[in-house]
Amino acid sequence: MSAVKAVEPEVVAARSGVETMTYREALRLAMRQEMQRDERVFVMGEEVGVFDGSYKVTAGLLDEFGPDRVRDTPISEEGFLGAGVGAAMLGERPVVEIMTLNFLLVAMDQVINHAAKIGAMFGGEVRCPMVIRTPNGAGNQLTAQHSQSFDGWFAGTPGLKVVAPANPNDAKGLLKAAIRDDDPVLVIENLPIYKEKGEVELDPELTTPIGLAAVAREGSDLTVVAHSFATVRALRVAEKLAAERGVSVEVIDLRSLRPLDVETVAASVAKTNRVLCVEEGWATYGVSAELAARIQSACFDDLDAPVERVGMAEVPLPYAKELELAAMPTEDRIEAAILRQLELAA
């Protein structure tokens, strides 16, 4: 890729220290830093430029980097995601935004049959260092076609790497790590978290390692394993239970789904002996299925109770507020499952 040379990092966005910002802003900061650091990085997707991004993640990037590096596309996910694959094969670092995970289905063939296959299928002769950014998640009555989380499908595909940050600092750190990674990485963002605030380390050289889970909250009675928005929910429930019932819940935030950090999960379960897996998507054949499988195998003698799961009700998400709420893996539902696990259920 001699033709595309990396420029000297003249990192404007580099004030060291921390700053409080939203998840959305943290993602934007990550892109700005990486685009300044490496000319090969460019952003492409529907409405990422003139419209400032349909969820405003890319707001301002067009002005800063121009239309060649912040490229608005027609509505052609298969076409422009595949174009990202081709550009990446020539050594560029495309960051392709898919408006929501639901729409990735029309580009599925390019992700699974192409991007994921390149490294192995051509004997390591070419690589595909691309990033696909897209939010999963439900809520806000977006209904059946716009409220899905297929996280496990991608995490189950050899050749891909999949991360799913649950807070602003990891959003920045994981997106940067994904952009610098030499393999195709799917960065699963989340609609409800976009507006969540948190402290973010500004240092442009700090990234969150791919494949490393985080102990988001220490506890001793039970472990909740989650990722993406489910982690946010789990942390809220943990605080509530600590305050109201003196229950000590440990929360593991997976952060990466492939590679999956089973080691950190197993260490926690070995300590608490009880575990609940939570996800925003459908639990059956979902991410929590793999977690339960790994945990029962790695922690067979540690478990005092079966691994429990909470996910979205197994229905295409309905529109009506009441129905949607009844279907979501709400805090109430998570709390109830934790209490069942601890045999504290009223």
């Binding site: 529907e46 409405e47 003139v50 419209f51 400032d52 349909s54 608005d72 027609p74 509505i75 052609s76 298969e78 076409g79 639901n102 729409f103 289905l105 029309v106 806000n140 009555q141 977006l142 209904t143 059946a144 076609q145 716009h146 459908w282 639990a283 059956t284 929590s288 079966p306 429990e308 799961r309 909470v310 996910g311 979205m312 009700a313 197994e314 229905v315 295409p316 309905p318 529109y319 009506a320 507020k321 009441e322 129905l323 009844a326 279907a327 893996p329 539902r333 499952a337």
Partner: protein, 352 residues
């Protein structure tokens, strides 16, 4: 359907009333959305009334209609009651999809209106298959499939058009060219901005019409639908129009176009134009006002109805997902099943 030229004042007045109904309904929907009685994505069609009513009026009673998510106007024009549409937007039991679908997924099979789809381009193969089914049963009916100017760049367009043409299916693809797909203008999205010309890639007829001219839209729609019905000739109809509001209620609609451009377009307002035509056709001013008043009253009744309609029962969450009888098939899935399954799918919620 009477040809427009000879259309009696009563007919044209009725069409005007339908256009007014759509405009007023959309304005009410926006108010209700802001009052948080409507949620999700809500796409309004203000400005597109002539293109909507003109094409739907050209449908025979047995013809079928399939659209994207910007479908309030199409549902109303097809005769779905404002009550059933507003109740659906409110997510209530009496909505045309019983509160399951919302703004993007309206449907009324009894009127041959098969949705109301939210994935850009996803409705095209489905409409094509409906046309195939009509042919299989030897029916002389046609399918009208609406899509937007942005949707035309999806692969589904190409595959559907080719299938419809190579199999000679009775389907007319209506491209509502309102100049933008979200914030992207036709010129930035489509290498052939004269969208109707893409019909040539399939050796079928393509026509472009001023989508704000009700009579013109109606006339060409009748012609193309007749060819589809009687000669199994698929076609593309591009209706040039404009969307006054943002892409959805959440979009101010000014990041990618100027206030001036919108003002310019409003001068060609299809409702204004229709009023003029009526007056020229000798319809009295107060008859026109009466039509507008009755449209306004219909919208008011719709909101009242929707407000009074009960919310869907939560214990029927999974209703409709699977056909009656499926409960038995799922019965053995229960042991050790996670929350969703046990408490919801098996709580008699399978719609039986």
């Amino acid at each position: 359907m009477a040809a427009t030229a000879t259309a009696p004042p009563a007919t044209t007045l009725k069409r005007f009333e339908t256009m007014s109904l759509i405009r007023l309904f959309e304005e009410e929907a926006e108010r209700q959305y802001k009052a948080a009685r409507i949620g999700g994505y809500c796409h309004l069609s203000s400005g597109q009334e002539a293109a909507t009513v003109g094409t739907v009026e050209a449908l025979a009673a047995e013809d079928l209609l399939v659209t994207g998510y910007r479908c309030h106007g199409f549902a109303l024009a097809r005769g779905v009651t404002p009550e059933a549409v507003m109740a659906e937007l409110f997510g209530r039991r009496d909505g045309c999809a019983h509160g399951r679908g919302g703004s993007m997924h309206l449907l009324d099979a009894s009127r041959g209106f098969y949705g109301g789809w939210g994935i850009v381009g996803g409705q095209l193969p489905i409409a094509t298959g409906m046309a195939l089914s009509l042919v299989r049963r030897g029916a002389s009916q046609a399918v009208l499939c609406e899509l937007g100017d942005g949707a035309i760049n999806m692969g589904a367009w190409h595959e559907s058009l080719n299938l419809a043409a190579v199999w000679h299916l009775p389907v007319v693809f209506l491209v509502i060219n309102n100049q933008y797909g979200m914030g992207t203008s036709v010129e930035r999205a489509s290498a052939e901005p004269d969208l109707y010309k893409r019909a040539t890639a399939y050796r079928i007829r393509g026509e472009q019409v001023d989508g704000d001219d009700l009579e013109a839209v109606l006339a060409i729609s009748q012609e193309l639908l007749a060819e589809a019905r009687e000669e199994r000739r698929p076609a593309v109809l591009e209706a040039l129009t404009y969307r006054y509001r943002g892409h959805s209620v959440a979009d101010a609609g000014l990041a990618y176009r100027t206030k001036e451009e919108i003002a310019e377009r409003r001068k060609r307002d299809p409702l204004e134009r229709a009023r003029r035509v009526l007056r020229e056709g000798g319809v009295a001013k107060k008859e026109i006002e009466a039509a507008e008043a009755s449209a306004a009253a219909a919208v008011a009744r719709a909101t009242e109805f929707a407000t009074a309609s009960p919310a869907p029962e939560v214990d029927r969450l999974a209703a409709g997902m699977y056909a009656p009888g499926s409960g038995e098939q799922f019965a053995r899935m229960e042991p050790g099943s996670p929350f969703g399954e046990r408490e919801l799918v098996f709580a008699g919620g399978l719609g039986e």
